[in-house]
């Protein structure tokens, strides 16, 4: 069961869990803003781009 859970985690989340966390934050933020009457269509793409850039920066950090 633990192996299955670990496989599912690796399968969906992969190498950088920060990306998954930021995606959840982005969706929750869009939902909260929408509940307050703000149509934040720009919110999720903005967080996605920030998450991607951050993740790439961490992975491609110069060695040494």
């Amino acid at each position: 069961m633990r192996r299955l859970g670990s496989f599912a985690y690796d399968f969906v989340v992969g190498d950088d869990p920060l990306v998954a966390v930021l995606v959840v934050v982005a969706i929750a933020g869009a939902w909260l803003l929408q509940r307050s009457g703000v149509n934040a269509w720009w919110g999720v793409p903005a967080v996605v781009v920030a998450a991607l850039a951050l993740s790439i920066r961490r992975a491609a950090r110069p060695h040494g």
Partner: protein, 244 residues
């Protein structure tokens, strides 16, 4: 999402995975014999068919709002994983996929593994089963998520099946790994597609109204493509880029 874009998205995503699975199967078949290899392939395909048959209706029965948030969110996380790897690959921080090299490695491993005296060859069966199942799981995930959001898992499955058939036919005709397929470019494109659709559905599920409706998909795709290519340029310019 139109039926054609659903078919196209599942076709491209599935073709990439099918090329990888085909290389493993071909290396096993020519080295260890076809009987046990094809048994492994058949067993893996049966498991994948059950997964899609069970998960498809289960996911489709979720109310559309929740479906879009959950499935869109999962697709977005999954797509970003693909896109991240594709950007690192294009920037020189991750080794490019090379089907010829994979074929040589799989063939060498298959030649070195001990052989059974008679009956089913456990090595060929297990490696073929695992290879097809692991590559196929990504296809199954894409088929279920795209199909459920579009309201037609069978149509998404048809796109995937068409890709598998096309790859197998091309592979049989060539009798060689499909190294000419621009696999790394296709993976980049699939990462962009998954991220685009994942963003669209997840935000829509959270209650967002996209300006322009479905047309926003094209703008999102263009935006993510520009960002991804910009990131590739940025990391390629770094002096310590090296394939790992």
């Amino acid at each position: 999402m139109t039926a054609i874009s659903l078919l196209l998205a599942t076709f491209v995503a599935s073709a990439v995975e099918a090329v990888e699975a085909f290389t493993i199967v071909l290396a096993l078949g020519v080295t260890r014999g076809w009987r046990s290899t094809l048994l492994g392939v058949a067993a893996a395909l049966a498991v994948l068919a059950v997964i899609v048959a069970v998960l498809g209706p289960a996911v489709t029965s979720i109310p559309i709002g929740w479906l879009r948030v959950v499935v869109g969110g999962l697709l977005l996380v999954f797509g970003l994983q693909w896109l991240r790897k594709a950007i690192l690959r294009a920037g020189g921080y991750k080794a490019l996929h090379d089907e010829e090299a994979t074929f040589r490695e799989e063939r060498a491993a298959a030649q070195a593994a001990p052989r059974a005296d008679a009956g089913v060859d456990p090595y060929a069966f297990t490696v073929a089963f695992k290879g097809v199942l692991l590559e196929g799981l990504e296809v199954a995930f894409i088929v279920v998520t795209f199909g459920a959001n579009h309201g037609s898992v069978p149509l998404a499955a048809a796109g995937a099946l068409a890709a598998i058939v096309a790859v197998v036919v091309a592979g049989i005709a060539l009798r060689a790994p499909l190294a000419a397929v621009p696999e790394n470019t296709l993976k980049f494109a699939v990462g962009l597609l998954l991220t685009t659709f994942g963003t669209f559905w997840a935000a829509e599920g959270a209650g967002v109204d996209w300006p322009g409706g479905d047309a926003a998909l094209l703008l999102l795709l263009a935006f993510y493509t520009a960002v991804a290519l910009g990131l590739v340029r940025l990391i390629s310019a770094q002096p310590t880029a090296a394939a790992s």
